[in-house]
Amino acid sequence: MNKLVKDAKEGLAGVKDGMTLMLGGFGLCGIPENCISALVEEGVKDLTCISNNAGVDDFGIGLMLQKRQVKKMISSYVGENDEFERQMLSGELEVDLIPQGSLAERCRAGGAGIPAFFTPAGYGTEVAIGKEVRYFDGKPHILESALHADYALVKAWKGDRYGNIIFKGTARNFNPVMAMAGKITVVEVEEIVEPGELDPNFIHIPGVFVQRIFQGKGYEKRIEQRTTRPKA
């Protein structure tokens, strides 16, 4: 059981134009930096990207937008990105906006073999257009479907060659549910450890969901909103 690959390029082997990718992260926190760099380098295009956000102009998915690699974004919030705005307003980029909780649950559902579920989120809004409405306990809900991806690109903190991974802080966010939902899940970690080093009671995502794993390098971990208070 050895899912270890050398680097992002090897991890992304088989990614083709027109594919659907999931990318973990919230803002710039917990994004698969190495995988994004490799995608930009490889130049694969017409991608559908499922990611809560779309990065900033010069980091994260913003780098892929600059090279016009993205055909469609499926996200909950896409501010802080001028090039994104330009492509969206000009019609070059298709955008599907989804409530954040529905996005998370739809990814989990994709990984868990649940094709569809009812949620109250979005009822009575344009998100509900064309979707089935049903009342439970007198409260209206809409039917949402599972999301799947050809590749899920996940950033974790530590992992082993079985694909077991753990996350750190709020860099966890969408990474676990996307790890579950990828046909091929590629994980980049800050540190590869030996099998058995991760306490089996506290593994966030078991290796069964992971196909490839590698140790990333040169993490920038850019902070989007540096907020502090003065030392007392």
Binding site: G101, E105, G124, V127, G169, I223, T228
Partner: protein
């Protein structure tokens, strides 16, 4: 008229000991600065954090610890970290007792619009639609009128909705109002603001019963 901080301070009076609370971006964030003495609440941030603390001291920022506004934050003792599906399980499952968020418009039946202005760049709803569709207790923090002086408390929202019949209470720079089956019920006036002024600034149905007291701080 209240300023942003006073709106937050008034909302903080609504907090009850032991509550879990989700604060939106803007005025709602300021509520955390005015927690009444003797009240302990836990702040949930929908990106995956419970027990959110204040901003870190300069030099102690951790790129792996941010809030839903993407700001660097800290954690309180007894806090916990979880993934996005677990975070919205808490929200959708009504385990969070209070959500405070801003709005562009609120209708007198509790509809809220706060995510999209036709013709302008749409950034997305983030977690707002899940929050308003799920929470039992939603307080909107906003100015009573917009920059053109038009009422934001309407008979019907004109902007695309974020949620339907969900807002329970509105705290503005002029008033505290409950949403009732018959419209906005005026509960309190901002110091120095008259019922007449509030009536003039409210386009939706306004219920005024007896003497309306001034807010106490």
């Amino acid at each position: 008229m209240l300023d942003r901080n006073q709106i937050a301070q008034r909302i903080a009076q609504e907090l009850q000991d032991g509550w879990y609370v989700n604060l939106g971006i803007g005025i709602p964030t300021l509520v955390a600065n005015y927690i009444p003495d003797g009240i302990h609440v836990e702040f949930q941030s929908e990106n995956g954090l419970l027990g959110m603390g204040p901003f870190p001291f300069e030099g102690e920022e951790d790129a792996d610890l941010i809030n839903a506004g993407k700001q660097t934050v800290t954690m309180q003792k007894g806090g916990s970290i979880f993934d996005s599906s677990m975070s919205f399980a808490m929200i959708r499952g009504q385990h969070v007792q209070l959500t405070v968020l801003g709005a562009m418009e609120v209708s007198d039946s509790g509809d809220i619009a706060n995510w999209k202005i036709p013709g302008k760049m749409v950034k997305g709803m983030g977690g707002a639609m899940d929050l308003v569709a799920s929470a039992d207790n939603i307080i909107v923090a906003m100015s009573h009128t917009n920059r053109k002086g038009q009422s934001k408390l309407l008979r019907q929202c004109s902007l695309p909705l974020t949620g339907v019949k969900c807002v329970k209470k509105v705290v503005t720079n002029m008033a505290v109002l409950d949403i009732t089956p018959n419209g906005f019920q005026l509960l309190e006036r901002a110091p120095g603001v008259s019922v007449q002024e509030i009536q003039a600034a409210t386009e939706g149905r306004l219920i005024i019963e007896g003497d309306v007291p001034e807010m106490q701080f």
